[in-house]
């Protein structure tokens, strides 16, 4: 294949994220759940050992899933499969690349392995998705080579408030980057802790240089529609599906709402087709500080 070029170029990595737009990426812990998710219309699968709400309950150290769980899921579905590594744990990331997953989520849902440094994602052929709470954090991750961003939200809570906060904050900061005087851009970059060149790119394009999805606390079709209308290009649903009464119908309903997020009549239809109640939510203020996942990473 003489005309092949190296495939660690950012465009090849963001290319897959482009293909995942307008869809729902679902957390699963078994191959059976992966099948249910694929049949419901998920655009990709996140293969985990436990969903975030169970990670909260279990406590202790949460690590990369066992390879056999991930491989089982990969064998079962034909859609892309993602898996999580701990923040900064490049050895876990290399294992995931070796397994051949389609995306690595360097995720705050797992216990961080490095409190100072994230993985240097330029060194990988497999693309990475990372979480962020604001524009500075997003641009630091993109500077390290992330090809897709998502809000952190507060995973495993079924509470959308943090994801909305993060989505709105990024949007507001992008608007600011576009509207301030160019002379003021360097001090804005300093305040955000963002690489100047990337901030300049945001100003030029009016958006992040990579796609931006929403994650963390999405539990209903209405939550999906809310995130998409706030500008998320796709959504990740973690505990929301397999911790609901009827995962199969929930999954279908959320996919339906994400596809037609701008049409309240269809989101209403989806909201009637849940076949049970949503996961029980958690009020963020009831969570003890060390278990606030959004605060992991910087």
């Amino acid at each position: 294949m003489s005309d092949k070029q190296p495939n660690n170029i950012l465009n090849i990595k963001t290319g897959l994220a482009e293909m995942l737009k307008g869809g729902v990426i679902m957390d699963v812990v078994t191959a059976e759940q992966a099948k249910i998710a694929e049949d419901a219309g998920a655009v990709a699968i996140m293969a985990l050992e436990r969903v975030p709400s169970d990670i909260r309950k279990a406590g202790g150290v949460a690590r990369m899933s066992p390879p056999d769980v991930i491989e089982d899921v990969m064998k079962t579905v034909s859609i892309p499969v993602m898996a999580k590594c701990r923040i900064g744990h490049f050895a876990e990331a290399k294992i995931l690349q070796e397994i051949g997953v389609d995306y690595i989520d360097e995720s705050e849902v797992l216990t961080p392995a490095d409190e100072e440094h994230h993985v240097n994602k330029h060194n990988f052929k497999v693309p990475f998705v990372c979480g962020s709470r604001n524009l500075g954090e997003a641009l630091r991750r993109i500077g390290e080579g992330a090809a897709l961003m998502r809000t952190k939200g507060e995973p495993g809570t079924g509470n959308i408030v943090e994801a909305v906060r993060h989505m709105r904050r990024i949007n507001a900061e992008i608007k600011k980057a576009c509207s301030i005087d160019e002379t003021e851009l360097m001090s804005f970059a300093r305040d955000l802790g963002a690489p100047y060149e990337l901030l300049l790119l945001v100003r030029k394009e009016g958006k992040l240089p990579v796609p931006n999805f929403c994650a963390g606390g999405i539990a209903t079709p209405a939550d999906a529609a809310l995130c998409m209308q706030l500008g998320a290009e796709s959504i990740f649903v973690g505990s929301g599906i397999f911790k609901s009464d009827n995962p199969e119908m929930f999954a279908k309903a959320i996919v339906k709402a994400a596809a037609h997020y701008n049409d309240p009549a269809i989101v209403l239809e989806a909201s009637k087709e849940l076949g049970g109640v949503a996961m029980r939510g958690t009020e963020i203020s009831e969570i003890e500080e060390p278990m606030l996942m959004a605060n992991r990473g910087w």
Binding site: Q5, E18, K21, S78, P80, V126, K252, A259
Partner: protein, 190 residues
């Protein structure tokens, strides 16, 4: 619509829709993201964008659009890209799945492998990307092969239906020659 510019509808149930806008407009046509059959009836030609073909297929069925789309595709130009080319093919393998069958080709899903095998290649002198792309393993009847890569067809056309397994919308200057060719095809018929 003699003096009006043609309208290209990009099926927007799921996938890479927006990247087509600049190409379509630069090629002299109007871009419209279409999600319902009513919207589909108002456009002059269709792009079935890249995305996940299984997801797109399920959404088409769930929103009961199959028959209506088949009718639209039969009478208007259609260009399927990557996942979209899978939806157009006569036969799909790896695994087998339902398709509109309006282009006489057999296509193998994820023909190159997983994301780690996604790559750039030079097609017709242009750098384009193949993202978890399918491979066209058979071309039948009077379908025309416009471009090949690694010995397999990557750009195929029959009448007003065409398919590319790569993504001109992602990396190329606007308008890409593929978008221009498709818009010209739609203009000729409009």
């Amino acid at each position: 619509m003699s003096n009006e510019i043609p309208v290209i509808g990009v099926l927007a149930l799921q996938g890479a829709v927006q990247p087509h806008k600049a190409h379509i407009e630069a090629a002299g046509a109007e871009f419209r993201a279409v999600k319902t059959l009513a919207q589909c009836e108002e456009v002059d030609g269709f792009i079935l964008p890249g995305g996940e073909s299984t997801t797109q297929l399920k959404l088409i069925n769930r929103f009961e659009m199959w028959d209506g789309l088949a009718e639209q595709f039969a009478k208007k130009p259609v260009w399927g890209i990557c996942a979209g080319s899978i939806l157009l093919a006569e036969k799909v393998t790896n695994p087998e799945q339902k398709s509109f069958g309006i282009l006489p080709v057999t296509i193998q899903r994820n023909g190159y492998g997983r994301q780690i095998d996604s790559h750039y290649a030079v097609i017709e002198g242009y750098n384009v990307s193949f993202i978890r792309a399918p491979i066209i393993t058979g071309v039948y009847g009077d379908a025309e092969i416009i471009a090949e890569h690694d010995g397999t067809p990557v750009w195929v056309k029959k009448g007003s239906k065409m398919a590319t397994t790569f993504h001109p919308e992602l990396t190329m200057d606007t308008p890409s020659p593929m978008h221009q060719r498709f818009v010209d095809l739609v203009s000729e018929r409009a």
